[in-house]
């Protein structure tokens, strides 16, 4: 009885309820997009993008522009540019992406050091903050989740075709370039709305781990697309609760839970499943 009460204790706090809803939605959202990130070998793009968005967030904070507006525009522009650089396969594209996004990240830190109010705000963006989750954040995450869910479901086959076989998709008249732009925009916006909960430094892990775990469990694309958001949401749910009881950072605890789930699956799944993960490129 007391254990059950203890477990429910954090739910007495409104901030925890908000954080809980936001984190669970964020986990599901990152799980869906993570499937494309993992299968297209774009995990370094997710990583770079979150750093780029941080620069935009810092700049908008310093110039007192609305966070979603400032960081959003910045994030979408960098997302589309990164997508184009990556697609052209110019030699050194990852180097270029690395330089631009880390420069944006460093610029953001410098701006906040010089003009920002406190260290705390930097830490909140880097590592996420449950305390800081407002109803506006939840509204934003919900809106993006609905939009991403609708787009992925509605254009499911086109996304699958363009991801699996871009060459033949082009030949068959699919607008592969447009699909890639839509993916990059969805990824940028997702990073934007979830980074205040999970944190800039950890968000790319939430894009990769649930999807990679789902890949081990199934050999079917549709099932992977269903499993990955469930794994993401459950990891966030469990991680949030643990973070309260262990008094650890929410973002870090969520990622540790996800890593534990991945490791357990890896150990239990057998050799063939392990090979499936080995076959994922650029992880």
């Amino acid at each position: 009885m007391t254990i059950a009460l203890d477990l429910l204790a954090p739910y007495d706090f409104a901030f925890f309820q908000r954080g809980m809803v936001a984190a669970t939605l964020a986990g599901a959202l990152c799980g869906v997009l993570g499937v494309f990130v993992v299968l297209r070998g774009m995990s370094y793009i997710g990583h770079g993008l979150s750093h780029a968005v941080f620069g935009g967030a810092a700049a908008s904070a310093v110039m007192s522009i609305n966070f979603f507006l400032g960081a959003g525009i910045w994030g979408i522009i960098s997302g589309v540019l990164i997508g184009r650089i990556a697609r052209r396969k110019i030699i050194g594209a990852d180097a270029a992406i690395g330089i631009v996004t880390t420069a944006s990240f460093a610029g953001g830190i410098a701006l906040l050091n010089r003009y920002g109010q406190a260290r705390k705000s930097i830490e909140a963006v880097l590592f996420g903050s449950v305390l800081g989750v407002s109803w506006a954040d939840i509204a934003a995450i919900s809106a993006v989740s609905l939009a991403v869910g609708a787009i992925v479901l509605f254009a499911y086959r086109a996304f699958l075709f363009a991801t699996f076989d871009p060459q033949v998709a082009t030949v068959s008249g699919e607008r592969v370039a447009a699909i890639e732009v839509i993916l990059m925009v969805m990824l940028s916006v997702t990073i934007l709305v979830t980074m205040r909960v999970i944190g800039t430094l950890l968000i790319s892990a939430l894009l990769v781990i649930p999807a990679a775990t789902a890949r081990m469990i199934t050999n079917s694309f549709s099932r992977m697309l269903m499993l990955s958001p469930i794994i993401g949401a459950v990891c966030c749910l469990v991680g949030m609760n643990l973070s309260y009881h262990l008094d650890t950072s929410a973002g870090a605890t969520i990622i540790l839970v996800a890593a534990a789930v991945f490791t357990a699956t890896y150990l239990l799944a057998g050799r063939r499943a392990r090979l499936r993960v080995a076959s994922l490129h650029h992880l």
């Binding site: 299968l39 479901l153 509605f154 254009a155 499911y156 086959r157 086109a158 699958l160 075709f161 699996f164 076989d165 060459q167 033949v168 082009t170 030949v171 068959s172 008249g173 699919e174 890949r215 199934t218 050999n219 079917s220 694309f221 549709s222 992977m224 697309l225 499936r276 076959s279 994922l280």
Partner: protein
């Protein structure tokens, strides 16, 4: 060059001769630098990529490979009518009951046929195959040749590129030899001759005949007395025919 409905045409030529570029131009993925490409209105192309270009580790089942091309159909669900159509296409290609299998779990011949099935599922007016026998074993090559002949006899129009002169090209009704320009166009007996092959490949190649079919020798057999006699005899026969 013209390809008419119901034809079965192979394009041969060395690497860099423009085979793939020609296919890309036909399918509209690159614009032609010179000349024009005319495709009758509403022609649907079914494109079968090289087996080597497919990501075999992608999490995807045979059924998913087939349905992905029908992007007009929204939502992931496969409709009952699609299920019936899919079963028909798979049956026709000897892939019955494999819908739920991952593409990696199939044999070489089945793997190639899945991509032919995907193209056929789009009810194409013309089937275009890029090097359908590259990277496959002899048995699979036989399977593919039989399959394509079968599809052709049922009325499909087929255009393919190949490096495989004896295993595939010499079995086709019509061949085009390409090296930046069309060097010859006709039946294998007309196109697989030393004069054309030398201009196409830039190296002397010898041709023998076996059971009425030309066999191209891609080794240097110039020292062989027997070979020279056979070639001389074949040339004189050809001249008398003409």
């Amino acid at each position: 060059m013209h390809v008419r409905r119901g034809e079965f045409v192979g394009i041969v030529g060395p690497s860099g001769s423009g085979k793939t570029t020609l296919l890309k131009a036909i399918t509209g993925s690159v614009p032609p630098t010179r000349g024009t490409i005319e495709i009758a209105d509403g022609i649907r192309v079914g494109y079968v990529p090289q087996v080597e270009s497919v990501d075999w580790n992608f999490p995807i089942t045979v059924g998913e490979v087939l349905t992905m091309t029908r992007t007009r159909q929204r939502w992931p669900r496969t409709s009952p009518s699609e299920r019936v159509e899919m079963a028909n296409v798979l049956d026709g290609l000897g892939l019955s009951g494999l819908q739920g299998r991952h593409i990696r779990e199939l044999s070489g011949g089945q793997q190639q046929r899945v991509f032919v099935a995907r193209a056929m599922f789009g009810k194409p007016d013309i089937l275009i195959l890029d090097e359908p026998t590259s990277g496959v074993d002899v048995r699979t090559r036989h399977e593919i040749l039989h399959l394509l002949r079968d599809l052709h006899s049922k009325g499909s129009t087929i255009l393919l590129t190949t490096h495989d002169l004896n295993g595939l090209a010499s079995h086709l009704p019509r061949l085009m030899c390409l090296n930046r320009e069309v060097i010859a166009d006709g039946s294998p007996r007309e196109t697989l001759i030393p004069e054309v092959l030398e201009r196409t490949y830039g190296a002397p190649l010898h041709v023998l005949e076996h059971g009425g079919m030309p066999i191209v020798l891609d080794h240097d057999y110039t020292s062989s007395e027997v070979l020279r006699d056979t070639e001389r005899q074949m040339r004189s026969e050809r001249e008398t025919r003409q």
